[in-house]
Symmetry: C2
Subunit: 240 residues, 2 copies
């Protein structure tokens, strides 16, 4: 049995009851070091298999092996395992086995960041990762352009990292061809972990914001998004 478990933003309060129950029931909690450390804080008694970045295939193979040996592994993803997480890869790696696999959804970063910034996702939105490790930069730009054409609110995952320090700035420069420099945006860094940071600013300003890194989620407004009492709001359209 394998639980592919979304741990939400990373504190115990953000976990669903179903996810907590799976983490308690399993024999081994398996995941990337940063997320394993978050879970260890509230489940210190459990056994953990801790992995470095980019060992995703190994994590899935190990979980499958454990399951075949009658053990239950809980593979953790921050946020939701179905959004740039471990769910798809695990299903693909286990495709020839008969092991039981259960995907337990969690609150993904788009939603936890939105709740901190206000209500920017009240209308249609697009979720785009700026990581060009597995998606080409041309496709990422094509999607950013399409999101502008559709006047979607845009939620950016993986905006930048040490290996790709300029991706976010390059993406903002591209967006500025299609969107007003005054477009309201916001970022949340380290959601619900130690020292969370959040700020609302314009697209022109966020382009040069040095806080944007791999622990940050960015939300870029559509043509209707505005700032109200320090909160980012995209109106649904009620007449009030």
């Amino acid at each position: 049995m394998i639980y592919i478990t979304g741990i939400g933003p990373g504190n115990m309060e953000g976990l669903t009851a179903e996810a907590l129950s799976a983490l308690r029931k399993c024999d081994i909690i398996s995941g990337y070091k940063v997320y394993a450390d978050l879970v260890k804080k509230f489940l210190p008694e459990k056994n953990f298999s801790v992995y470095p970045m980019r060992s995703e295939i190994e994590r899935c193979e190990d979980a499958l092996e454990l399951s075949k040996n009658g053990k239950c592994a809980a593979l953790i993803s921050s946020g939701d395992p179905g959004v740039y997480g471990m769910a798809g890869l695990m299903l693909e790696i286990a495709k020839d086995s008969n092991e039981e696999i259960k995907i337990i959804p969690g609150v993904t970063a788009a939603n936890s960041a939105a709740a901190i910034l206000g209500a920017p996702l009240m209308n249609d939105y697009a979720v785009i990762s700026l990581s060009d490790l597995m998606t080409s930069w041309e496709i990422i730009l094509k999607r950013l352009k399409a999101a502008c054409d559709g006047d979607f609110v845009i939620c950016i995952y993986n905006p930048a990292s040490r290996g790709r320090p300029k991706n976010f700035k390059k993406a903002c420069e591209f967006l500025l061809k299609y969107k007003s420099p005054e477009t309201p945006c916001g970022y949340v860094r380290n959601i619900k972990r130690e020292n969370p940071e959040a700020e609302i600013m314009t697209l022109e300003k966020i382009r040069d914001c040095e806080k944007i890194d791999m622990l940050t989620t960015v939300i870029i407004g559509n043509s209707k998004t505005y700032v109200l009492n320090g909160k980012l709001i995209t109106p649904r359209g009620y007449e009030i």
Copy 2:
């Protein structure tokens, strides 16, 4: 104090610890009848203010009034309150007050439906509501077109209702101009409630599927989405 609370798909297991704690602490749980009935099942001892559909403004005004009188209201939304839920409207209605408002995110239908269907949201996706009560049908079509241009996976909220029985079929006919009729899709109806239903089929077939109603979430694949052992998967791009 007002908690704008996401209850997730509707059972107690899908609630975050933070949401459950807010529902337990508040004086009155306030919401649309269908969602209030879901919460009553696991918190029968609480006081509820139950409203019909389309009374969203009244619900927010009542919650604000309660808060001004020193009571704490928890305004509930299914899924996440920041996605077509109560968060934006409540912030707008409370804009001239000093009442404390806390938004508690939940697992939105895109993520709970994806977990049941497999892993269709592993790559970039767009979330689009087909309700044309507050967004014009032209804008909805513009967004569907843009989502096709960007080769996003598309997650459809509010696909149809008694008042708009043909919206989903019309949207599928529009999508078929840009996408293969063989595009893998899936729907989940009544996620985690009584009698949940889920099925995977092609875009051409789902167009005529009579199960699609207001309790249904639909996910339409992108050019890379495929079906593996009865699960819908959009590969992230790992080489396995």
